[in-house]
Symmetry: C2
Subunit: 743 residues, 2 copies
Amino acid sequence: MKRILTIITAVGLLSSVSAQNPADYVNPFIGSDNYGTTNPGAIVPRGMISAVPFNVSGRPNKHEKDSDWWSTPYSNVNETFTGFSHVNLSGVGCPDLGTIILMPTTGELKTSPGEYATSYSDEEAEPGYYSNKLTRYDIKTEVTASVRSAVNRYTFPAGQANVLLNLGLGLTNEQDGYLRITSNNEVEGFRTVGSFCYNSPEEIYPVYFVIKLDKKADTFGTWKKPPHYNGVEGNWMGYNGKTRLMKEYTKPLVGDSIGAYFTYHFDKETEVEVQVGVSYVSIENARENLHKEIANKHFNEIRTEAYNKWNETLSRIKVKGGTEDQKTIFYTALYHTHIHPNTLNDINGEYPTVGSGKIGHTDGTRYTVFSLWDTYRNMHQLMSLVYPDEQLGMVRSMIDMYKENGWLPKWELNSTETFTMVGDPAAVVISDTYMRGIRDFDTEMAMEAMLKSATQTENNPLRPELNEYLKHQYIPVQEEFDGSVSTTLEYGAADFAIAQMAKELGQTSTYKTFMKRAGYYKNMYDKGEGVMRPRMSDGSWFAPFSPMDGANFKPVTGFIEGTSWHYSFMVPYDAKGLIKLNGGNKKFVDKLQSVFDNGLYEPDNEPDMGYAFLFNYVKGEEWRTQKEVRKIVDHDYSNTPGGIPGNDDTGTMSAWLAFAMMGIYPDAPAVPQYTICSPYFDEITIELDSGFYSGKNFIIETVKTNRKASTIEKMELNGQPLKSYFISHNDIVKGGKLKIWLK
Amino acid sequence: MKRILTIITAVGLLSSVSAQNPADYVNPFIGSDNYGTTNPGAIVPRGMISAVPFNVSGRPNKHEKDSDWWSTPYSNVNETFTGFSHVNLSGVGCPDLGTIILMPTTGELKTSPGEYATSYSDEEAEPGYYSNKLTRYDIKTEVTASVRSAVNRYTFPAGQANVLLNLGLGLTNEQDGYLRITSNNEVEGFRTVGSFCYNSPEEIYPVYFVIKLDKKADTFGTWKKPPHYNGVEGNWMGYNGKTRLMKEYTKPLVGDSIGAYFTYHFDKETEVEVQVGVSYVSIENARENLHKEIANKHFNEIRTEAYNKWNETLSRIKVKGGTEDQKTIFYTALYHTHIHPNTLNDINGEYPTVGSGKIGHTDGTRYTVFSLWDTYRNMHQLMSLVYPDEQLGMVRSMIDMYKENGWLPKWELNSTETFTMVGDPAAVVISDTYMRGIRDFDTEMAMEAMLKSATQTENNPLRPELNEYLKHQYIPVQEEFDGSVSTTLEYGAADFAIAQMAKELGQTSTYKTFMKRAGYYKNMYDKGEGVMRPRMSDGSWFAPFSPMDGANFKPVTGFIEGTSWHYSFMVPYDAKGLIKLNGGNKKFVDKLQSVFDNGLYEPDNEPDMGYAFLFNYVKGEEWRTQKEVRKIVDHDYSNTPGGIPGNDDTGTMSAWLAFAMMGIYPDAPAVPQYTICSPYFDEITIELDSGFYSGKNFIIETVKTNRKASTIEKMELNGQPLKSYFISHNDIVKGGKLKIWLK
């Protein structure tokens, strides 16, 4: 009954748009099953806030936040709804946020999710809008958002209606919140969140909110449920472990299981709009955010603005041809690349800095949620090409973090460093951005920051294994399940990136040093096994060993989230060296092809996501790239809730798909080029940002010799034959047309 | 080694005082054992704040807050100290407050009371000052206080020194607090408290604080201990149930087990002064209270001011003669009558109102902590006689509560109504105050309030049994362990009090109605048993029954905290009627005497505390009053920690003692008289408040015919023979001398 996708619901409402708009092709349900961990909630591009249906609390839901490792507020296969959460992460693999939850109910007031949960139907979602019908209560819910504020609209039937703020409920592992009812239609407070991935458990912080209802409640109050005391004390507490309702309680209330309610008695069907403003700085800022973004605007205006923002963003790339489903997965992918990194600063420019927690100020956008181990591979390259203004802002934010904290980010979340995953990906992102010509940032400080993490051997939180890496020219196995091979390869990628930027800056000595280090990956290659293999500090190979070990995310020594097969070709910056290491073109191609043929390629995670493009480095074998990329697109992505093969990883999977479908892929981070595969559309027009690039548009035109044609026959760039399967960033951004004939 | 009482420690310090000062006779350790539940902490008269050694957490302490019903932050027989709590109740029987706890330690930082608890020695206390030595840390601690602020002074040895704010620890049953470190020497926040006696569990509220250290810390931080998760989630939390230290955390922190620390590294012995301001309105007010009361004053100045305030207060009564111990127990009793009711309003006049929690404002003092079932019997009478300004303020506060909440208080605690105990004692207090000539309050509204609780038969929180009372002219047994007899007698006392004030106001009809109701107690008297007995609604007597049932606070049907014997003579306002009911003078005297002779009198609770004075109503038997009162004073009170026979009940036991030792006792609430017993001192001078009374002093002079003389031989009032053993309030307050010859 639910999960009915209505792509176009707003035609009447949004008079300026037609059904041809890119935003109309977004299906926000894609990725909301199959561990994609995206959600259909309402959000604007890079919004701080989102209003997401929260359906992961309690059974009969298949996926339950406390009973499984569960990292998203919404699952498309779940069945019971317990509200809308207003700070959320999309496409991540660890639980956090998913809180500040509002729930509308009718009838007698219930305050426990187990008591008020309801099934739902009639789900609809489009960019900036989500709606459903709560079966048990006959309430229609709708949500929309601006950058830092959201609006919930509940259509209640006649009778008693309740709006609950359950501050105890949340996806985050962190406990406790604060709330204060300030009037019969407003509550303010904060919720403590943090401890993402259970790493850095000290990194907890408050997210502040102000919630205003557009109608004054008839009654209101708070609740608090104390923990159950088992000791003697408990005998005297008639309320031991029971929720206490506190009518008209207007003092500050703190605790783990607390909430606020506003109750109405309607004599006819009535809409209540609930505005939510958030901030990571203060309640005052949350109020200012709400006031300046929403003020007296009503739901429909905010919804229209959100839609228009999305449409404007997505229209930077226009496609013609392709099936409706192909357009849908393409634009949804582009949509997913604009959730994270997201805005951290308040409308007045304030944000919590990294480290000290002091309040910083920006005139631009302070970005947050940098899942860099993922996004360094392609997401930032997509931003540099199509949204260089955003990418510049992200790099500036990263350098500001260094200024604040003395270190570049690794997996930064709301100005906390979660130290999730391995490597030194910030260096790659900064260098890649620089190499693509986006340079209006403090390059001197950037190099200082990159070199710090690349050279400081003691107390280095970004590269804790640097000492071993430099000493052995690889990272030896130090304990079971460490990621010595993965980390060596990641350090190599970062070192290569540093070298590239150093060269460009004329720092020849640094260039040479780091290019040498970028070759250390070779020390991880076991000629006997023909793959990368963990190695002991005495140079011997780690045993027992199989390149299949570590499949399905099982812990394995040497590799992070993967097998040796998933890492053995992960040297995108030195494909030629890798080919040589593997015994030359033929052996390399055969071995790489066998990975695909033997089911050893996994499309659901990052390490091997560049594999399919490596065939392009062997002349005459480029058809394999076209074929394998097409196989992945067609097999692992679809216009269904399960249409992303694994965690979207804050848009990394989606960026892969978007590039792959355009027929160009930034295969080598910090190398300003794209390698070519076969596009899915007849014409793709990338609008170039005139603030950064000289060209107006870059067009990829595809001519098919037959309906099923998918193999490149020939190519022309601006009318000249193109023999290479690589095209430079520069060639693209000066504008022009790449014409590809498929056979 | 500990519990060394140093009565006079401040001679050198306090140059203006001599060893003869009343304040020097106070022993703050009296009542800190034997369930007296007073404490030796530092406080000023009616102070909002007190700094009390907290020694009831964990073993080997004999009395442990979580393992027993335990209602005081300090026990004199306990052995381990875990800090100073800054909001506290004195002399009560239920746990609450006992929180905002500061603890000094040395060496490695520990944040759990179980880890940092220490034994202690060298305890010293005087009014406004307490000190001890922490054995484990070699720290000397000292505390002193003003009305809303306290100062802790810790003398640390060289090395690492830590000042901890453990916001998780507390006597209160309520959980959760909020704190924020605002600089390297300041932390602010609030602690949730409430649910006194586990009654009214919804009545929780924050107490706000600002804590400033006079030296900037070298390092600082917070801690938080999450609950232990037993579910699947717990498997991923390396920190499950463990305390997390968060260095330099300056964001708001909420939760149950949270705290803040400030650490120093001293190269020599160093004093750190820690100032604590509190408020029940806001953090801002706590800061203002601290700033205006303490500002730049140092510990010694505040200590001197506190001592002087106490001395001034206690000097309203001056005694000559008696032993040192007698002077000590007398002035300590007077001291204990000035702990509660205490100040609730901030220095700017703001306070939380009852009911709505809205902020009220007073130009005077808003009093709180009204344990009226206790204090209506004698405490307020003592205030009316010696401190009429305070008593007027208390009555005004009670009437303001009615204005705010629609009801007079019963057991009011920081503007929450805990509904502890039975009856309608506010009416007695207001009438008694009026009858003693203190009338500068809104008498019209007072009568309105008194009549409301006395006549509103539905939804009456003060007299829930009013309907039954009026219907049957007694309250029948309604369920096991209800207090039907006790409540009937309490209603009678209140009705009598209302009648008295009505008569004085010329409201004759009301007077008559309520005098009739004041006689309902007779319907509880079982002639067969010769005692008060619970009765069924059909008029039959409740059975099985023994007038001994209910001893030692065992629950019993019909009586609250007592046996029939403890209640059967509790009709102080109608001794003559009671005598008649009991068969006339002889039978009455015999029966009453048998209560004392057979050990049926219990000196540790309120119901029978007037018994010894009843002999004065039978001519020729007054020697019994003198004898029994002296026996109680000599046997049940002493200059030892166990020197109060039971809960001091916010000064009620102490008020009894103070009156008894002066030789006058306000035996009948709402009757402006005192009955006479034999004084303990050669001369007692009560300084009369010229703002209320025409006399300057009232002197009770005692002439002993021999050293052990204790029986009254004759009396003169202002030189005229006094035959009666009763003296009117009016006769006292116009000044003069009562001369008593003892034989």
